[in-house]
């Protein structure tokens, strides 16, 4: 709105005719801007790190400096005696359940006998100043007996169990089709994917406030408030009602937030001291605390016929889950199920393992499982094309999946799967121009501005990646969400515990209510655990289940609103329609406004949305495990300096299967964000952990893509084939570009250099072409 004012002012000074006021966008399909966009850009939006309470204490967490050690003793005497220190807690002070964990409860709040990864929490301190708290945490004396860490996932099978639950977290042997099937050509490959960190722009922070009833309120940037509340209550030995999580602004979440390694101690300290306790993690603590993307080792063998059609895929997939299970089981299911990619593969034998090591724990980071296998199966498709002398896009087109085809899990793809259309769209999009050999274009060379790029050593390559992800939780997870819609005085309010992580849920909720009720002013209430659960914000859940719940609730309110009118005019409510705040009947006899019909009444409705059930993968990896799937094809164009091995991604052309465009501006932003995260995996993002120790836990050592690293992102096609089982027919859009873009970049580097490029991120030495 202020923009309009500014334009109007500018136009006025130029003495142009006054511009026609553009209508404020509303409803589904419009580019409604987020309500909090202004506060976020101006820096006034309150995140957890900005919260304050009178008399608050500061917390610090002592984390293990070793990846694997036996704890001989923990002595907190010195720390307790330091002036200003109010409480020191260790495993002895945890009143409730000893273990917690997102996927599986196998993780202690504080390590008691063994530390299993670098950065595992051992103790926490509350003090009256953050520096005092940090110093006191450092003054806790822990005597360790350092043990050899298991850092190679391949050795986890043979190693001594690192945990009473054993080292094998999950094993899926998928069998599909005829094991003796063979093709005319065979291509093989061994692929390694590095450890991506979600690196949220805002590090972890939280405030815990004790309640007079013996409970505690946690102010956190949680993406799964009810799940986190239940875990906290169990650890504190309280009932879930005694713990309340209030969700503050979420500063970036492409993975699960918050890190339970600090959020559980925070509440514990508040309960212990009776004072509010706050913690804001440093960037280093953030890297040490939260879960990362699974580093993965993949071994593939593809059999294909002479035309390039895949006959059989054999693969072994090994996920390094790190020290604790977290959601590794889900990641493995996705990796195994999508190991062949969006291609028709009649015979597939995929074996997947998620194993425990002493590396930092891996967990949900969007596109988990699917991203790693995509890099491998797309590399295999390139190899088939090379072996048969075919165009890489053509080989893919000969194999693509369509609606009605069967996945290796035995599940029939019932949702729209316009894979061929997506691939053709990116293939046929015009290629970007070559940079001109002029000083002005020098910054377009690999290595960037002031880099060492030399036009004579630069080779261009074009490559493809097609990704697929599943939406919502899989394998029988109950993906329910509940929402309430209230209308009073012409203002609608949405209450739903779906967390706005930046994915645009609050904007979507406003659009849905605007569409259904014809009310322009829609507010979305802040989220806390007093509301009914809406589940975690991941895998595009909230667009589907929470959006669906909001729509149902809004429709119920609509019926309540229209019922009296319909009754009065003797027609059913279906014959009345609401548009632009007016209620009209099909024949135009009735015309009134929403405000009049409301007549000071307050209307409420609550509804749930629960997608159709899924089943777990069985002993041979078979089962209808997924509710829905989304697809994306990306064509990458890269320039490689073949002497130095520097890679510049010139352009990524994206075609995506979105079901239905609900908010074009947000959709574009989500795709661009996903693609950029994928470019990070492809080129720079790798949290290195030699000997199990995280090296360079800072944003200088861990290189996120900057504006210069990010290529031109061209969204060439959005295929809108509605998914009939999804509310509005829309599909989740954020994760699948992350899955496809690293594979596309690797494929393009392969085309430019002729090198195999088996490892992500691509190291410079893998992209050089040496003579001879």
């Amino acid at each position: 709105m202020s923009n309009d004012a500014a334009t109007a002012e500018a136009a006025g000074t130029a003495e142009a005719p006054p511009p026609v006021a553009e209508p404020i966008p509303h409803g589904l399909g419009a580019s409604l801007p987020p309500a909090d966009a202004r506060a976020k850009t101006e820096g006034t939006f309150p995140y957890a790190a900005d919260l304050w309470a009178e008399g608050l204490l500061w917390a610090a967490v002592l984390r293990s400096p070793h990846p694997h050690a036996r704890i001989v003793s923990i002595d907190t005497t010195h720390a307790r005696e330091m002036p200003g220190v109010r409480a020191v807690v260790t495993h002895e002070d945890v009143p409730g359940a000893a273990l917690h964990g997102r996927g599986r409860a196998d993780r202690p709040v504080f390590a008691s006998d063994v530390v299993r990864h670098h950065g595992e929490p051992l103790a926490a301190v509350a003090a009256d100043h953050p520096d005092t708290a940090r110093m006191a945490a450092a003054a806790v004396i822990v005597e360790y007996e350092v043990l050899d860490p298991v850092i190679d996932p391949e050795q986890a099978f043979e190693a001594e169990p690192l945990h009473p639950d054993g080292n094998l977290i999950r094993h899926i042997p998928l069998h599909h089709g005829d094991p003796d099937a063979a093709g005319e050509i065979v291509v093989e490959g061994l692929y390694r994917i590095g450890r991506q960190d979600p690196a949220p722009i805002g590090a972890e922070a939280g405030l815990a406030v004790p309640r007079p009833d013996g409970g505690v309120e946690l102010y956190l940037a949680s993406t799964d408030p009810h799940g986190d509340r239940d875990a906290a209550a169990e650890c504190y030995g309280l009932t879930p009602e005694q713990v309340k999580i209030v969700v503050t602004g979420v500063p970036g979440a492409t993975a699960d937030r918050e890190d339970q390694g600090f959020q559980l101690p925070l509440g514990l300290l508040a309960l212990r001291t009776g004072c509010p306790v706050k913690l804001t993690a440093t960037r280093e603590e953030s890297f040490l605390g939260h879960a990362h993307r699974h580093p993965t080792l993949l071994r593939y063998r593809h059999h294909a016929d002479a035309e390039g059609r895949v006959v059989k895929v054999e693969a072994q997939i090994l996920l390094d889950a790190g020290a604790y299970a977290d959601t590794s089981s889900d990641a493995l299911a996705a990796a195994v199920a999508f190991a062949c990619g969006p291609y028709v593969v009649p015979n597939a034998f995929i074996e997947g393992w998620a194993v425990r090591t002493n590396n930092p724990p891996s967990g949900h980071v969007r596109g988990e499982g699917a991203m790693q296998v995509c890099a491998a199966y797309e590399a295999q498709m390139d190899k088939i094309a090379k072996k048969l002398g075919l165009d890489p896009a053509e080989v893919r087109l000969r194999n693509v999946l369509a609606t009605g085809d069967v996945l290796p899990t035995g599940q029939t793809v019932t949702c729209p799967a316009p894979v061929a259309e997506l691939l053709q769209a990116v293939r046929d999009f015009p290629l970007p121009a070559l940079p001109k050999d002029t000083p002005e274009d020098e910054w377009l060379l690999p290595g960037g501005p002031e880099g060492a790029g030399e036009p004579g050593a630069v080779r261009r390559g074009v490559g493809y990646g097609i990704g697929m992800v599943h939406m919502l939780g899989a394998e029988g997870a109950d993906e329910v969400s509940t929402a309430t819609v209230k209308v009073q005085d012409g203002v609608a309010t949405v209450l739903c515990a779906a967390v706005e992580t930046g994915q645009g849920f609050t904007t979507l909720a406003r659009q849905i209510v605007q569409d259904t009720l014809g009310v322009d002013e829609v507010q979305v209430a802040p989220v806390d655990t007093d509301q009914p659960p809406a589940g975690p914000g991941c895998r595009g859940r909230h667009t589907w289940v929470s959006g669906g719940a909001v729509e149902r609730a809004a429709k119920m309110v609509r019926t309540q609103l229209l019922q009296p009118l319909a009754h009065q005019f003797g027609m059913s409510t279906e014959l009345l329609q609401i548009a632009d705040g007016k209620i009209t009947s099909y024949d135009g006899v009735l015309s009134t406004t929403v405000a009049e019909a409301l007549d000071g009444k307050e209307l409420w409705a609550t509804a749930q949305c629960r997608p159709h059930p899924t089943e777990p993968l069985d002993g041979t990896g078979q089962g209808d495990a997924f509710v829905g799937m989304a697809f994306c094809a990306i064509r990458a164009v890269v320039d490689v300096d073949i002497e130095i091995g520097s890679v510049r991604v010139v352009e990524l052309a994206v075609a995506q299967d979105v079901g239905r465009v609900l908010n074009p501006a947000q959709l574009t932003a989500r795709i661009e964000a996903g693609v950029t995260q994928g470019v990070g995996i492809a080129l720079t993002e790798n949290l290195r952990t030699p000997r199990g120790l995280i090296r360079h836990p800072d944003l200088t050592g861990y290189a996120l893509p900057t504006a210069l690293d990010t290529p031109d992102i061209r969204i060439v096609k959005l295929v809108e084939e509605r998914d009939v089982v999804a509310p509005f027919g829309a599909k989740a859009v954020s994760a699948v570009p992350v899955v496809a873009s690293p594979a596309a970049v690797a494929s393009a580097v392969r085309a430019a250099t002729g090198r195999p490029v088996n490892r992500l991120p691509i190291r410079p030495q893998a992209a050089v072409v040496t003579a001879g």
Binding site: G84, R283, G447, G451, E643, I644, L708
Partner: protein, 297 residues
């Protein structure tokens, strides 16, 4: 009630001349001098450093510009990277300007200074190979108006140290009026730390080539023999012509000098360098070859 003194009690002095700054340091030996703060404040924010007092160097106008002194440029240590990257400065010392422009994102270049780059002496400091190639001299300000000189390489190699209470005041370097090149390889397109960098300057008056390789060792390395060898192959009177093979040879020579093969074992066998080191060597060779090629055309 808190155990910590409030922030405001921290002593911050903002002197306006170099001698005042030295005096402030002498008066408060615990004080830490700060110019751009791009390294210092990162250490403060991560809790590694809690300076009792700060002496801010940002208001000392005498060290924020440069002057000429018998064929040399006398650069103030407070020159920011952003200032050095501008065209007027690039006309004087092109390699230093190129290094300054490559030295990180604009926010860092606006704050970070030449003196800070030297004092931090990070292996990846982008200005350092240029200073080494130019054989720059530091003018160090000490108590009571004392000034002493020190070759920059002595400080970087640890042969001489800054004494307590001393500040780097100026950096003196020759004005060569000839092409200079700074090239940097990073792992990315955006601003990043160098994996290897090469500064190369021509000295036509003395018919010399001077080259320094940065980021691969704790200090910039000078391949002196390679410099002399290639200088003898340049036809200085004939448009500085050189045969392409010599460019190639120079690259290999520099790379082998900076990243030598391991010494042969007792049985005469030579261990192979690890792939990452071999790649670094190839990168240095490519950078040195390209740098000389660009300087001579």
């Amino acid at each position: 009630m808190t155990t910590h003194a409030p922030q405001a009690a921290q002593a911050v002095t903002l002197p306006t001349t170099l001698d005042e700054a030295v005096a402030a340091l002498a008066a408060m030996p615990a004080a830490v001098p700060v110019a751009g703060g791009t390294d210092l404040m990162a250490a403060v924010n991560s809790g590694q450093l809690r300076p009792a007092a700060l002496v801010g160097l940002g208001r000392i106008s005498e060290i924020r510009g440069w002057q000429y002194q018998d064929g040399h440029a006398l650069l103030g240590a407070g020159l920011t990277h952003a200032r050095m990257g501008r065209p007027d400065f690039a006309a004087l010392i092109p390699a230093l300007a190129a290094a300054a422009r490559a030295a990180g994102p604009p926010q860092i270049r606006n704050a970070g200074t030449l003196g800070g780059n030297i004092a931090s002496a990070a292996p990846t400091g982008d200005a350092l190979p240029v200073l080494a190639a130019l054989e720059a001299t530091l003018i160090i300000a000490g108590p009571d108006g004392a000034r002493r000189e020190m070759p920059v390489s002595h400080l970087l190699a640890g042969m001489e140290m800054l004494r307590a209470g001393e500040l780097i005041g100026y950096v003196r370097m020759p004005l060569l009026h000839a092409p200079q090149v700074f090239l940097k390889a990073t792992g990315r397109t955006g601003p990043g730390r160098a994996t290897a960098s090469v500064a190369l300057v021509l000295d036509p008056a003395r018919r010399g080539v001077r080259c320094a390789v940065g980021a691969i060792a704790p200090m910039p390395l000078r391949p002196l023999e390679a410099e002399q060898w290639v200088a003898s192959l340049i036809d200085w009177d004939n448009g500085r012509a050189i045969v392409p093979e010599a460019l190639h040879g120079f690259g290999e020579y520099v790379a082998a000098a900076c990243i030598p093969d391991p010494a042969p074992a007792e049985d005469g066998s030579v261990a192979q360098l690890p792939p990452a080191v071999l790649h670094l060597r190839r990168t240095v060779a490519a950078l040195a070859r390209r740098a000389l090629g660009r300087a001579l055309t």
